[in-house]
Amino acid sequence: MGFRLSLAILLAWALAALFGPLLPLAPNQIELAQILTPPSGSELLGYDDLGRPLLDRLLVGARISFSVAFGVVLIAGSFGVVVGTLSGYFGGLFDLLIMRIIDIFLAFPGILLAIALAGVMGPGIDNLVIALSVVGWVGYARLARSQVLSLKQRDHITAAIALGSSEWIIVTRHLLPLIAAPLIIEATFGIASMVIAEAGLSFLGLGVQPPDASWGSMIRDGARYMLVAPHMVMVPGFAIMLIVFSLNLLGDRLRDKLDVRSNRTE
């Protein structure tokens, strides 16, 4: 029912992120006469406490949230998949070591560690991506490992070994394609949680620095003017909620379609 709508929302998000720089946006342009103007037909989404247009800031923020979320999932995901696959495929001492490291990472409240890391490294988008990736690879590694473990006794692997295929071929041709589905589902939910994480860290002042806009920092700025200008908090909040809702819906759909039971509990 709402599935098409959420696909449209995600598409709009991607388009805003990819083509935003081509638009004549003025996210930092100050219109003193418009300070705290609420949304209306002519003013679109209204203006913030400094008289900057919220629509422009929202679109610039879309680019930040999109690139951080995809960037982290790409970095953490590929690192995690490589480590997890190798660990599951080769086993032995390496696997034991990796499992211990994964256990210890899982013993952390993840975002907490990311907050501390980003805090120590100093604010900034690149540090934020590093902090979230350092924490985020573990889930993918564990998933890839358990998938590889359950697959590597299959007949087609044995056949490939018997035929003398190299390990590289076995892993890339015969294992990775089979574990792609659960990983894609995990990544979909991963992007959703990274959108929240980026906004959360920016809310705490650890992401983009003023005057640049991120959805999280827009909420933080708006919280001070909530009584007089609630739109400053509502606009970016709705954006985050719509994106995350759509991603979660998409993830649910994919899981039903691809018929993968999440084996998160081992």
Partner: protein, 309 residues
Amino acid sequence: MTINLLLSRLISALLVIFGVICLVFLLLHMVPGDPVEVMLGESARPADRAALRLALGLDRPILEQLFSYLNGLLHFDLGQSLHSRQPITELLMQRLPATLELTGAALAIAVITALPLGVMAALYQGKKQDSGAMLFSLLGISIPNFWLGPMLILLFSLWLGWTPVSGRDAPGALILPAITLGTALAAILARMVRSTLLEVLHEDYIRTAQAKGLARSQVIWRHALGNAWLPIITLLGLQLGALLDGAVITETIFDWPGLGSLLVESIQKRDYPAVQGCVLLISVTYVVVNMLTDLLYSWVDPRIRIGET
């Protein structure tokens, strides 16, 4: 519960705690970025930098630093706050009760809303009640707490004037932070209660219970949910991490004087020993609670008392 089981769990938990401590220390010291430079600014004189480096012990090899940190930990000495000069253990102990109170209340709210919601969804599977509950659940997962919090403040504190805006002293101050923190957990939990219940509702023993004429409510709450406790406890243990993550932001929104807001304040003041102490205490709490969950688990389900087989 056998002593053997208890002992082996305890030892593995201690090992994990040790690993957590080392990891926190090494990660915070090895990430790019120089704390001295961040603390003093780029224009600081080299002599000042060297003095601060010496004072923080950052001039020594990293393993030596780790070792002396661990040594201090054995005496519950986490160093001194750079900002207030207070011992960090003292600082942490002042803030711990507020965080425990908040997470406890959030947990209670989550369980109280999720159980009836999940049961309703399962009983009316595919009907309006079900889709309503699942929509709530999807919304609950999708609303970030740093947005839900301000919205609740706007509605209940500013417009209706029912609850205080922030702080911990006024009566009713706990309500909004606890709702803010508990909503996501309630959403996840409701989904799980629903799916667990759906799995058992068609089992023979449920039919037997119905056949012998038990009241519907008794069949649901005693017989069906009786088997759902295990996954619920597991989920709660695992989700506690998310709850502690969320506490950092929730406490910041509401000025709740707990460990999370201490962490954020310490980051803003560049008080690294305090940052490290906060992360350490929260992670260790998480490990300890997970261990307790594990033990509770084996107490609830006799089959899991490994030591007795």
